[in-house]
């Protein structure tokens, strides 16, 4: 799996994190994370609650300012200058409950200078929803809300996608469809980071599993030249059984 994918995207790192530290008061959510991530790959970021996955993703999105260290995306550490190249899907929907999906996306598209509604319709269809749906987002099912949230993240056609728990509360069928879509986007050259507790769902499309623990990246499996993944079970026992290829 890894060999074919790495040869398909022989890229230089487009996301580089150096000695990243983030402290909330006396609690250190990130403790000196250093890593480089190549473009055109799908990274599944795994770890227990409080491991620092969401904080890392928020730091990459520019929503959390590091206490120390640096982040370089697409060759620049001025994250604001590349903000239109980064799509972010958070655990909350980041949508207005009182407006329909189309109204939400129409508004957010204006923030990126997209004045045509066609792009909004396109991404809504891409995630398997109907752009003509007039129901407010607050009345959507959790799965529909997650898809619409993904559509919002895709609106500006970003090169890098940061997805925080995209499959939470999503039924199995919808989850598989979202995974298929992520695979297609990865194949189209996007770099995708998925924070998840449902790694089994992503097994077929993931290029690399990034394991975090206590604010640090403790292991990366499935990278270029590494041994093939044998399991994506996140139980501590299963983790010990895996080949350490980092």
């Amino acid at each position: 799996m890894t060999d074919s994918k790495s040869s398909r995207h022989p890229n230089t790192p487009i996301v580089v994190v150096t000695d990243l530290v983030k402290q909330f008061g006396r609690f250190a959510a990130l403790r000196g994370v250093t890593a480089a991530f190549e473009g055109g790959r799908l990274y599944a970021v795994l770890g227990d609650n409080g491991a620092g996955k969401t904080t890392l993703l928020r730091a990459l999105a520019g929503l959390t300012h590091p206490t120390r260290g640096s982040i370089s995306i697409l060759g620049t550490d001025a994250l604001r200058s590349v903000s239109s190249q980064v799509g972010y899907m958070a655990h909350p929907s980041l949508l207005y409950d009182e407006m329909s999906g189309m109204e939400n996306l129409r508004y957010f598209s204006r923030l990126y200078g997209i004045l045509s509604d066609e792009r909004c319709r396109q991404v809504i269809r891409l995630v398997g929803l109907d752009p003509e749906l007039t129901r407010p987002v607050g009345q959507y099912s959790q799965g529909m809300r997650q898809r619409m949230s993904l559509a919002r993240a895709l609106l500006q056609d970003p090169k890098i996608l940061l997805l925080d728990e995209p499959f939470s509360n999503v039924d199995a069928t919808s989850g598989r469809e979202m995974v298929k879509l992520l695979g297609q986007m990865r194949d189209a050259g996007k770099t995708i980071f998925v924070v998840t507790h449902q790694s089994a769902l992503l097994e077929t499309v993931t290029d690399e599993f990034v394991w975090m623990q206590a604010g640090q990246i403790v292991r990366r499996t499935g990278g270029p030249g590494s041994a093939p993944l044998v399991s994506t079970d996140q139980s501590p026992g299963a983790e010990r059984r895996k080949p350490d290829s980092s």
Partner: protein
Amino acid sequence: MSLISNITAATLAKDIRLEWRSKDAINSMLFFGLLVVVVFSFSFDPIAEESRRIAGGLVWVAFLFAAVVALNQTWAREVRNQVLDAYRISPAPANSLFLAKALGNFLFVIVLEALMTPLFIVFYKLRALGPAWMLIPIAVLGTWALVVNGTFFAAMSLRTRAREIMLPLLLFPISLPAILAMVRATTAILTADEPAKFWIVLLATYDVVFTTACLLLFETVLQAE
């Protein structure tokens, strides 16, 4: 510049749509304003001359407190589902958001004033002895003074635990010069005792200074964690 105005227009249209559907701010403001008019009219029974002297203060105190209700609502919508983060990660300028929010609040408070002013006139038997048309620039400048600082401080207190309390604590002291100018200018028009020009100029200067300061500082407030 056109990007800023496009985003400001889109954000303002979105806020008006949300308010039209929920009516959160306008209903609370109207209810509060109505209470103030009724309670004050039962508390005092002034003659026409006394009314003219106290009405400036009563009117602006009522509008100030009602505006605080709207100002608290305006950012609450952005915190629900963390929608503000979607704005923060976009390349849209912070000032566009601030201008849209301030304009939206201005619109809501002006609507409230338009609805409440006839009630004040009836309940307090008001008739201006000075040039009544000058009450319009006073209302516009005074309302902008309240909402521009109110929008800014409401955003600042967004992440505090007791934001409903924090907003008046921050807003009222800094609004004192503007409130003084509004009240004195309104009283001057109603009683025709003194010219209102000085107070209107003071109000306009206050607006320019604080609008500039808020625009310069809002990026920092928006990106704060």
